[in-house]
Symmetry: C2
C-alpha cells in the first residue's frame, strides 16, 4: 500500500507560504507560560503615531516569513507535551484496509503521510475531553492558549472594551471585557463553547467556538476526482486558512480519502471536521441500505485515530421525521440527512445513529472528538424554512446534546440553510433554548434563492445576521454553490465574504477587540495612507490591485485623492482643510454658526473679520498630484 505516487509534471509539490501582504506573523505568550506560543498577524502602519494592529490568525506556520514546511514530516506537534503529560496510553493503530482508500489501484494510490505519530486513546474513566477537564475545574493549556488568542489587544484597552460592550447589542451573550483562562474553562464547562482538539491532532493551534468568543468561520474542502499529489490536497487547506478559515471540513469521497486525510491532519494547524457517513457509504459501495453500525463504528475509530477534531453526525434524522419532508419544495438537501432518511425508510426502522448514540459518544470521548450534530433536515429553499421537519430535528438534537454532555463530550449544533431575514432570529432563539446554549454552527443562511452564482452574498447577509444573534461559527458558501465545484478563487471569495459576516457580527455584538481594525483603516483612509488601507483590509492584494487599475504609480500611494472623485471633488481632502479651519476658529473664540443666518452685510463683515486668515487658501480645491 505504500508505493508512492509519481506526480505528473506541472503539479505543485509545495504549498503557498509567506506572510499575507503588509503583515508579519508574531508569537506571544501569556504571562508565566513561555511554553505557550500564540500566533497573531501584526500589521505595522506607515504613520509612527499609529500602533501596529494585531489580528487573529488561523493561518499557521505557513505565513511565517521564513516558513520551512516539510509536508512529509508534518507541522511541529505543539500540543504534544500537554497531551503526553495527561498520560494517555499508546494504542496499536487500526490496520488500514483497501476500502479506506476506496479500493484505489496501486498506481493511483496517494502514499500515506510518513509523519510518525503515536496514536493515543483514553482508558475508560480517564479524563480526556476539554469538557471533562472544565467540569472538573481544571484549566488546560488549550484553555490558556485560547484566552490569550481571543484577547488580542484587549489588555491595552480595558476601558474602551467596557464602552464597546455597552455600545453593542449581544442578545444575551456574555462577552467579557477581558478573557481569562478560567472564563474559557467556565464556558466549556457550561457547554456554551467547545475547543475541538482530538488528542491525536498534536499539530493543532487551539481555538474556541462559542457565542462569547469571536465569531468563527469554516471552509469546506474535498479531494479531486483524480488526485495528482498530496500537496495539491493540502494546498486547499493552506489556501483556506491563509485567508481566515478557522476550521476546515474535509468532505472528500471516493479514492485515497484515508491517506489524503492523513496528509491534511498532519499539516493542519486548525481543527479538521468530517462527515464519517460519507466514507462509511463508500465502504459499502454507495448503497445506504448496506450501511450498518459495524462499518460506521469502524469508520469513526479510523478517523478518530487519525486525529479528526469534530464529526458531523446526523443522528437527529429519525424515521418519524421522514414523512415531514415529503411535501417540501426541495425535500432533504443534506447529503447525510438524505442517506439516513433513505436507510430509515427503506427498512422502516429507527436510525442506527440515534439508537447507537451513546456508543458513538463513548468513542468520541476516548479521543476528544467534538460533536457537530448535523441538521440533516435543514431547509433547502425559502419555502421550506422553519418547517415542522427542521424544528422536529432540532428538538431531537437538543435531546442528544444532553446525552453527549452526560457522556463527557463537547457538542455544537448545525443549523440552516435557506431562511428569509425575518425568520432567522427564531432559529437562533429556538436553538439556544432546545440545545442548552451549545454553540450554533450554521450554513449561511441564504436569504433568497434567486441568485445562483452569487450565493456567497445571499448567504453572507444571513450569516452576518445570525452571527450577530449568537451563532458561534459560520460555514462558508462559495459563488459556485448549487452550480459546481469551487476553484481556488471561489474558495478565497467565500472565505473573505464570511470573514466580513463574522466581523460585522462581532462589531454589532460590541466585541471589545473588533472595532480597533475598522478605526485604524478609517484613519488611514482619511489620511490618504493608501498602503495602510490595503494592508489593514481582509484582502490586501485585491484592494491594491483595484486601486492600481486606475492609479498605478507609486506617487499615487500618497496622493490626496483616488480615481473615484479625482483630485478635485475629493471630500476627504476638502474636510481635512475644513477640520483645520474649525479648530483654528474655535481657538480664536469664534462660536460657529451662532449668529446664522446672517444678513448679506453681516456675512461680508463676518468674512472680513473672521475668515481673512484662512480664506487665502480656502479656495484651494485643485490638488496637485505631485503634492
Amino acid at each position: 500500500m505504500n508505493a508512492p505516487v509519481i506526480p505528473p509534471k506541472g503539479v505543485p509539490q509545495t504549498v503557498t507560504t509567506g506572510p499575507v501582504a503588509g503583515s508579519a506573523k508574531v508569537y506571544a505568550s501569556p504571562a508565566g507560560r513561555p511554553d505557550i506560543r500564540v500566533p497573531f498577524r501584526e500589521i505595522v502602519l506607515s504613520d509612527p503615531k499609529e500602533a501596529a494592529v494585531r489580528v487573529y490568525d488561523p493561518s499557521g506556520p505557513y505565513t511565517e516569513a521564513q516558513a520551512r514546511i516539510d509536508l512529509s514530516a508534518g507541522l511541529a506537534p505543539v500540543r504534544a507535551p500537554w497531551i503526553e503529560a495527561r498520560g494517555y496510553g499508546a494504542v496499536a493503530p487500526r490496520a488500514v484496509k483497501p476500502e479506506d482508500n476506496g479500493f484505489v489501484p496501486e498506481d493511483r494510490l496517494v502514499a500515506p503521510c510518513p509523519a510518525a505519530r503515536t496514536i493515543r486513546k483514553a482508558a475508560p474513566g480517564q479524563m480526556t475531553t476539554q469538557y471533562e477537564f472544565a467540569r472538573a475545574g481544571i484549566v488546560t493549556e488549550e484553555m490558556i492558549y485560547v484566552a490569550h488568542r481571543e484577547n488580542l489587544c484587549r489588555e491595552a484597552m480595558l476601558d474602551r472594551a467596557q464602552a464597546a460592550l455597552a455600545d453593542g447589542e449581544g442578545f444575551g451573550a456574555s462577552v467579557p471585557a477581558f478573557i481569562t483562562p478560567d472564563f474559557v474553562r467556565d464556558e466549556v464547562a457550561r457547554g456554551r463553547a467547545i475547543i475541538p482538539a482530538n488528542i491525536n491532532h498534536p499539530e493543532l493551534e487551539p481555538m474556541a467556538i462559542g457565542r462569547n468568543f469571536l465569531v468563527k468561520i469554516n471552509a469546506n474542502i474535498g479531494n479531486s476526482a483524480v488526485t495528482s499529489s498530496a500537496a495539491e490536497e493540502v494546498e486547499k487547506l493552506v489556501w483556506a486558512i491563509r485567508w481566515g478559515a478557522d476550521t476546515v471540513m474535509d468532505l472528500s469521497t471516493g479514492r485515497n480519502i484515508h491517506n489524503i486525510r492523513g496528509w491534511i491532519l498532519r499539516n493542519s494547524p486548525v481543527p479538521i471536521g468530517t462527515v464519517p457517513i460519507y466514507q462509511a457509504l463508500e465502504k459499502v459501495g454507495g448503497d445506504p441500505l448496506k450501511l450498518d453500525w459495524e462499518v460506521f463504528k469502524d469508520t469513526l475509530i479510523e478517523q478518530a485515530e487519525q486525529g479528526v477534531d469534530y464529526f458531523t453526525i446526523h443522528a437527529g434524522v429519525r424515521l418519524a421525521h421522514v414523512p415531514l419532508t415529503a411535501r417540501r419544495v426541495t425535500g432533504i438537501v443534506s447529503r447525510g440527512g438524505s442517506i439516513m432518511a433513505r436507510w430509515c425508510l427503506a427498512g422502516h426502522r429507527e436510525s442506527f445513529l440515534y439508537e447507537r448514540f451513546e456508543e458513538i459518544c463513548d468513542i468520541c470521548r476516548a479521543y476528544d472528538v467534538s460533536f457537530s450534530l448535523g441538521d440533516g433536515l435543514r431547509p433547502g429553499s425559502i419555502a421550506d424554512a422553519n418547517d415542522a421537519a427542521q424544528f422536529a430535528e432540532l428538538e431531537t438534537l437538543g435531546e442528544l446534546t444532553k446525552v453527549a454532555w452526560d457522556k463527557g463530550c463537547q457538542v455544537m449544533i448545525e443549523g440552516p440553510g435557506h431562511v428569509p431575514m425575518h425568520k432567522i432570529k427564531v432559529n437562533m432563539e429556538k436553538q439556544l433554548r432546545e440545545c442548552g446554549e451549545a454553540p450554533f454552527y450554521t450554513l449561511g443562511p441564504l436569504t433568497t434563492d434567486i441568485a445562483p452564482g452569487y450565493d456567497h452574498i445571499t448567504s453572507g447577509i444571513g450569516a452576518a445576521m445570525i452571527g450577530w444573534f449568537g451563532t458561534a461559527m459560520l460555514c462558508y458558501v462559495t459563488p459556485k454553490e448549487h452550480l459546481g465545484l469551487p476553484n481556488r478563487d471561489d474558495v478565497k471569495t467565500g472565505v473573505i465574504t464570511y470573514k466580513i459576516a463574522a466581523h460585522a457580527a462581532d462589531l454589532a455584538k460590541g466585541h471589545p477587540a473588533a472595532q480597533v481594525r475598522d478605526d485604524a483603516l478609517s484613519r488611514a483612509r482619511f489620511d490618504f495612507r493608501w498602503d495602510d488601507q490595503f494592508n489593514l483590509s481582509l484582502d490586501p492584494d485585491t484592494a491594491r490591485a483595484y486601486h492600481d487599475e486606475t492609479l498605478p504609480k507609486d506617487a499615487h500611494k500618497v496622493a490626496h485623492f483616488c480615481s473615484m472623485c479625482g483630485p478635485k471633488f475629493c471630500s476627504m481632502k476638502i474636510t481635512q482643510d475644513l477640520r483645520a479651519d474649525v479648530l483654528a476658529m474655535e481657538a480664536a473664540g469664534v462660536v460657529i454658526g451662532e449668529a446664522a443666518p446672517m444678513s448679506a452685510a453681516d456675512r461680508e463683515a463676518g468674512m472680513a473679520a473672521k475668515s481673512a486668515e484662512f480664506l487665502a487658501e480656502g479656495g484651494k480645491l485643485y490638488v496637485d498630484a505631485a503634492e
Copy 2:
C-alpha cells in the same frame, strides 16, 4: 457648438440590446387603458406544468427581441400625450453656455443629442407635480402605470398575497395585497412615495419609490475623463438598467456634461438623478467660495429643462453643523456636503441652499423635479455612525421635507453610509419620525470598514437589513468603492448585489409577489431543470457559465446531479426517490415511524412486509449521467 465628434476607431457607436438570456420582454395594459403599456420580463419554463414567471423590468426597450434603437432620435416619448393633455406651456429653452460643457474645446465637443423635444414649464399655480395631483385626488396615468407595474402577478394570487403579508414582518409598512391606482395616489399624497417624473422627460417609464412598494435600487454613472462617443456614455446607463437598476444618477463632472446628459435623458426609460452642485462648481472653476445662488439657480433650470427627474440638494448642511464634524474619524465624506461646509465656514455664513430652499422648491415644482435631500454629513466610518452631525442634519432634512411638501414638491431623503448592524434600525426609525415617512434612500450602509475591494458585500448586508426595515431605495456600491472607478463588470456586480439585497428585503417584509420567483427557482432546482434555474436567476449568464465550467455538455442540463456532489451523493436525487416512497407507504396506510424504534425481528418483518415493493430500487444511488 454643433460640430459632431468623429469618434476614434474601436469606440462602440451602439449600446447593448436584446433580451436577458432565457426571457422575453412583454407589455401588458391595465383594464380599459390600452394606451398604457407596462413592460415586464417573462421567463418561460421548460416544464409545461410551471407557469411563466413575470418579473419587474426597468431595462426599457433595449431588451426587446427586435430592439431598434436610434440614440439620435431618443426613445419613444411614451408619456408625451399625458403631459400634453395637462396643457403646460412650451418655453424657449435656456441658451447653452460654454461653461455648461466645461469650456470643452470644439474638437473635443460631444455633439448635443439631436432628438427634438418641446421644453415645457408649468405656469405659477398650475398643477404640475404628482404630489399636487395626488393631493387634489387626481389619479394620473403615471399612477395607473405604477399600480399595474408593481402588482406583477398579484391579481392571480390574492389569497396567497394575504398569506405572504401575514407571514412577513413589515415594521409598520402598509403593503397591500393588491395595488390600485388610488392606493398609489394616496401614498404619493401622504408623501410616503414619490414618482420621479420630470415633465421634460417624456421617455420615462414611470416607477414609484416608497416603503409600500417593491424596494428599488439606484446605480451611479459618470462621464469618462476623455469621452470618445455619446454611445459610450449611454451604454453605462443601458448596462446598469439591463441588470436591474431602477434609477440612475449621473454624477458626471468636467467636460461635455451638458451634452452627455442630454444623450442620457433622451435615451433613458428610468428616472435620472443628478447633484447640481457638481456642475455649478465646475462653472465657477472648482472654487466653492465662488459658488452663489445665481449660478446654482441657473444650473437647476438648465438641468430641469433637460428632464432630470430628481436633484440631490445638500440643504441640510448648515453652518452650525460644521463644527460637529471636526472631531470625526473621517470628517465629511459627501462631496456635496464637504463643498457646502467649506462654503459656509469660509464665509461664516448660512448655506444658500438652506436659505433659498423655498426658491429651489418653486423651480422644482414647475417641472416636477423630485427632491433627494442629500445627507452631506453621513458617516464615512463605523466610528462616526449615528453621531451628532449626522442626526442634526437629519432633523434639518425633516424640516425641509415639510417645506417642500407645502410647496407641492415630491421628496425623498438620503441616508448613510457606514453603520454597524446594531445601529441600522434606529436610522430608519428616526428618519420615518423626523421626515414624516418620506421615502428613505440609503447608500448601503456598509457594516464594516475592513474590506475595501468587497464593499458591495459589506454594504449589501446593511442594505438588505435597512431595506427590510423600510428603506424605499438602495444606492448600490461596487467592489471598487473607496479604491477607484468601477468598470463594466464592477457595475454589474454592484447592481446584482443590490438586487439581492432589495429582494431579500421584499421577502422579509412579506411582499406578496416576491416569493413566487424563489419558489419557481427552488422547484426547478429540485427537478434538476438546470436551464430553468439559470433563467430564473438574477444573472443567467454567470449561473450558466459557473455550471458549465465543470459540466459543459448539453446532456448535463438534464442530468440529475451537478459537480458539487457528483452523480452519487446527490441529496436531491435521493429524496426524489424518498418522496415517492413516503407517498406510496402513506397510500398503503403505513404509519411511518409509529412503532419505531423496532426490534431487529420487527425490522426484518417490517422490511419484508412494508418495503418489498420499493426496496428493489431502494439502493439505487448511482445515477447514470446519460439518464
